[in-house]
């Protein structure tokens, strides 16, 4: 009963698949043989994959969060403060950040998920600003605008991830884990229920699917993924400040998702892989960077409403080919 849509995979053309997997594997391994700058970009890409996949889960049930960076911030600050104030090591402090974020998402989601469309977008935007302002204001515990510096690097089972190359290994595992999770969810009845809720909530409710509960589950899970990204980012950079989580960061996640493909389980991966390195290419001319962003977004919305994942090929959105 978990394999309702397995047939869709079998129908894919095999050569495409192998080519795609080979390209992905090459891209994943390449940073270890490249310079520190490429490794740095690769780490950021992995973290963005994780965070945007969280946003994809929320977007999949029909809600757009404009406060996603706030949940990244909760994960980052939660884990850093757990380590700093309670002296917890990497794994328990990260878990503390995730649990804190999930609880906040649960309470917030229970209140605001009944809002639809633009109202939900506005409230999540306001929540994002609220979190940022609280972090700015609480200088006694959050360091205010100065943030918190000198965060210990991640360490797991005696391995310290204090180099770019080693941290990239950790980030890659977590990012791939989130892609696998999204794929697994999409295949399971819960994933189908999410799609049903997104497409016609009234019908979904009248066929026994609790719209509220399904949206809440997806929202909490999506925010929890974001918080893992935040906790890892804090460990990697060694520094957190409220301005790393402002609304333009949230918008950046949405752009990655839209350009990658809102409806595909590969959207977050593709979007983060394409857009994370891009600004770096335009470092010399900041203006060009923003013009490029805008132009790319307009072009993609106009010609590829399903994002890069909507291009013909093996990675095409799964949900349109579900009949056996």
């Amino acid at each position: 009963m978990t394999e309702l849509s397995l047939q869709a995979d079998v129908a894919r053309p095999a050569p495409w698949r192998w080519l795609l997997w080979a390209a992905l594997a090459t891209a994943a391994v390449a940073p270890w043989f490249a310079g520190p700058f490429v490794q740095h970009l690769a780490v950021l890409t992995c973290l963005n994959v994780l965070i945007v996949n969280g946003l994809a889960l929320i977007a999949r049930c029909g809600q757009l969060s404009l406060g996603h960076a706030a949940f990244v911030a909760l994960g980052a600050y939660g884990s850093v403060l757990a380590a700093r104030l309670l002296g917890w090591s990497f794994l328990p402090s990260t878990l503390a950040g995730v649990v804190l974020t999930a609880l906040v998402a649960l309470v917030l989601g229970a209140i605001i998920l009944r809002l639809k469309g633009v109202y939900f977008v506005l409230v999540t935007f306001a929540f994002g600003e609220l979190v940022r302002l609280i972090l700015l204001d609480g200088s006694s515990w959050s360091g205010g605008a100065n943030g918190i510096a000198g965060i210990q690097p991640a360490a797991l089972l005696g391995v310290v991830f204090d180099t770019r190359a080693s941290f990239y290994g950790l980030a890659l595992c977590v990012a791939l884990g989130s892609v696998a999770l999204l794929n697994a969810v999409a295949r399971r009845p819960f994933g189908h229920a999410i799609d049903a809720v997104a497409e016609n909530p009234a019908l979904a409710e009248s066929t026994g699917l609790s719209v509220r509960r399904i949206q809440l589950c997806a929202f909490v899970a999506g925010c929890a993924l974001a918080s893992v990204g935040g906790a890892l980012q804090a460990r990697y950079v060694g520094y957190v400040s409220p301005e790393s989580f402002n609304v333009s960061i949230s918008i950046g996640f949405i752009i990655m998702l839209v350009i990658g493909g809102r409806r595909s389980v590969w959207g977050g991966l593709i979007g983060a892989m394409v857009l994370t390195p891009l600004p770096e290419l335009f470092r010399g001319a900041v203006q060009t960077q923003h013009i490029f962003y805008g132009a790319a977004l307009i072009l993609i919305l106009r010609f590829l409403p399903a994002g890069l994942a909507g291009l013909p090929g093996p990675w095409q959105a799964r949900r349109h080919k579900e009949s056996p």
């Binding site: 049903a196 016609n200 019908l203 409710e205």
Partner: protein, 260 residues
Amino acid sequence: MSQPLLQVQGLSRSFGGLAALRDVSFAVAQGEIVGLIGPNGAGKTTAFNVISGTMPPSAGTVHFDGRDISGGPPSRVVVLGLARTFQSTSTYPEVTVAENIRRGMLSRVRHSWLRRLAGRKQDLLSASEVTQEVDRLLTLLDLQPWRDAAAGSLAYGLQKKLGIAVALACRPRMLLLDEPAAGLNHEECNELGRLLRRLQSEEGLTMLLVEHHMALVMELSHRIVVLVQGEKIAEGTPQAIRDNPAVIEAYLGAPDYAHA
């Protein structure tokens, strides 16, 4: 008569100062088709929404199979065995007809560890059972030729039929039909009548039918409940309703007015 499947007791619902339903009571027995009729604004849709759990009643109760279902939520009401269809077409337009029906069965296939803890494992369907059930429903509703077509591309009549199929996918014991004949042509309407009768006789499905199409209601229903301005003014067999002076007055106006 043993305990009725659906028992509506003293149901009232007001919107601000407007009483859309006032103290309405009726019952539907297992295997029965009951028609709910009334002129525009009589409160039929309100009654429908309250019974299906979409909105809570202001007063009164709805019992289904002995359980109080007043106030919903609809997803719980459906799981207990009371499914509904929508007045306008309501499908998942982007996916295929077969996938629409499969989604209708989700509440029965969903892995839920909570349910497992509660020992309700037997409710869950396997993948092959899902496929079988989809095929059975497609055949039952003559939708097989459109199996792989996107639901949104179907003609209006077919979409309405698909709506019934999706509701049946929840395997309800009782079906609430909100104007199933609205927008159908004469031929489609006859076909719908045959289908509903077959569902009642072959599947033992109990039905509450809210409908404007008098011929269809009179032909199908065992009993009819008439609402006028939120109140029940009559209840009885189609013949009795046809001859009831209060019903004739509600639909055609009082003889006095005709003379005026």
